[in-house]
Amino acid sequence: MRPDDRKYLPSHEWIKVDGDIGIIGITDFAVEELSSGNDSDLVYCDLPEVDRVLETGETFGEIESVKAVADLNMPLGGEILEVNTAIEDHLEILATDPWERGWLVKVKLSAKTNDDLIDAAAYEALIAQEA
C-alpha cells in the first residue's frame, strides 16, 4: 500500500502537508510509466527556482526519460521554498525511493484545498484501472 500520510493527484504527483509547508514528489507508478524498466531511464528533471510562486494545478517543471517527458503539476499552489537539487544528477533515486529521498520541491502553501486530490486508497484504485 502506498503511503497514506499524503494525498495524490491523478497525474501521479503526491503532496505531504505539514502545517503550511507542502512536500511534493511523484509516485513510483509515474516513474515506472516513464521508464523501460531500467534505473537509469530517467535522464533529466527540470525544477523551478526557489521563490517562484505557482498556482494549484500549474506546471512547475518536467521530468524526462529516454522515451518520454511529462509535466509536473502543483497539487496545491504556493511559493517554492526548497528544491531537491541533490537528485538532479541522481535521478535513479526516484526509481528506488520516490517517497522520501526522492522529494522534488518544498512549498509554502497558499492554497489549502484542491478537489482533484485523492487519498492513497483512491489512488491505488485509479492506477489499478489504468494498468
Binding site: Y44, D46, E64, A68, V69, D71
Partner: protein
Amino acid sequence: MPFIQNTDADRDEMLAAIGVRSIEDLFEQIPADLRVKTPIDVPEGVSENELWAELNELASWNSTAEKGTFLGAGLYRHYIPTVVDALQGRQEFVTAYTPYQPEASQGTLTAFFEFQSMVADLTGMEVANASMYDGCSAVAEAVLMATSLVRKRKRVVLSAGLHPHTLRTVQTYLSCCDLEIVMAPLGADGRTQYDGLIDDSTCAVVVQQPNFLGVIEDQDAVAASAKEGGAISIASIYPIALGILKSPGESGFDIVVGDGQSLGVPMAMGGPSFGIFATLQKNVRKMPGRIVGQTVDNQDRRGFALTFQTREQHIRREKATSNICTNNALMALRGAIYMAAAGPEGLREVAEHSLAKAQYAEAELAKLEGFELPHAASGHFNEFVLRCPVPAKDVNRAIDAAGMIGGLALGDHVPGADERDLLLAFTELTTREQIDRLVKTLSSLSQTVTVG
C-alpha cells in the same frame, strides 16, 4: 535509389491487380465538369538541342555575376571549391532521409555532428544545432528561445541594422506573441544605438555583425549591455567575416545565429540556404532544431544519433521549443564540406582577400569628387555604403552599361534611407580590373554633375 519509369506492361499489371480497367477510371470521383476534356494548349515539344538553344538565348539576356558584381546585402559571391559539389552530389547524401533511425543513418549523422562541431568552433560557442532553414528564421527562433530562457520579460530590442528580411521575418514570427518589439536605431556612424532601450523588461537584444550597411558593430559593448540588463544577447553573423572578426562567443554572446550561404552555397537567386544556430551548453534544452549527439552502440562502438528529441514537435507538441522539425540538410552539408576544405586558415584567407578588395575600392572611391563614404570612421568588412552625387539607381544603370552588376540602392529597401546611398560588396572573386572599371564609371558620373 535510381528512378526507373513504369512501362505500359507494368501499368497494365498494376491495374489488373487493383481491378481497375483504365487509369481514367481512377478519376471517376472527380465531377465530370471539372475534368479536362481537351488537351491543354501548350506548344509542341521540341528536341533537346533546340530546347538548350532557346534557353541559352534567354539566359544570355541576363547580367551574370561572373562578369562582375558589387551586390551583397546578405547574399555573397564567394568561390565554391569543386570538392563541395563533388561530395554533396554523391547519391547517398542527396537521397539521405531524415535520420530518425540512427542504425540506418550513420553517414548523415556523422556529417552533421562534424557540421555542429565546426559551427560551434567558428562562432566561439559551446553547442550548435544541425542547421535551421535560413539566417532570417534563425534570428526569429533565437528571439523565441530568449523569451523562454528569461520568462516573464516581454521586451525585445532589435537593431535597425538587421537585414530588412530578417526584421520582417522576426516580426512575422512574433506577431502572435504578446511581446513588445523595440527598434534600436542606427546612429550617423552607422552603428546601433541601444542607449536607454535595454531595461528590466527586456528578454532579448539582437545585433547583426557586420550590420546591413556593412558597418562593424561594437559587439563587446552590445553583449555587455544585454548581460547587465539581464537580457539574452543574440548575434547574427556573416560566416566568412568570422575568418578575421572576433567571434561572438569571445564577446560573451548567449546565442549566435546567421545565414550559411557564404559557406559553399550558390547565390541561386536567393535560395535555398541554411541557418546556423549556436549557444551555450546550459541553454541546450531550449535550443530549437535537430541536434546530433555522439554515443556508443550496444557493442561500445562510437556512433551518432539525434538527441534531446524531447524538445521537439513529435514528442512535446504544443510545448515543443519550436515547430521546426527538420534542418536544411543538403545545404548545411555544403557548409560542412566548405568549412572542412577551407579550414580556419582558408576562411581567414577568403576574409582577408574580401576585405582587401573592399579597402582598395574604398581608397579609390574616396578620391572621387562628389562621392562620400558616410561610415568611413566606423570600420567595415567587405561591404560599405557609398553616397553618390546622383540617385543610386542611376549609378547602377551606369554600372550595368559598363557590363557589371551594381550594388543595392538602399532607398528601395530601407525605410527612410537616402536615395543616393549605394551598398557595395566585394569578395575574393572581385578583381582589381572590375574595381578600376567601377571607379572609372563612377568618376564619369561625378564629372557630369554640375556644382551647385
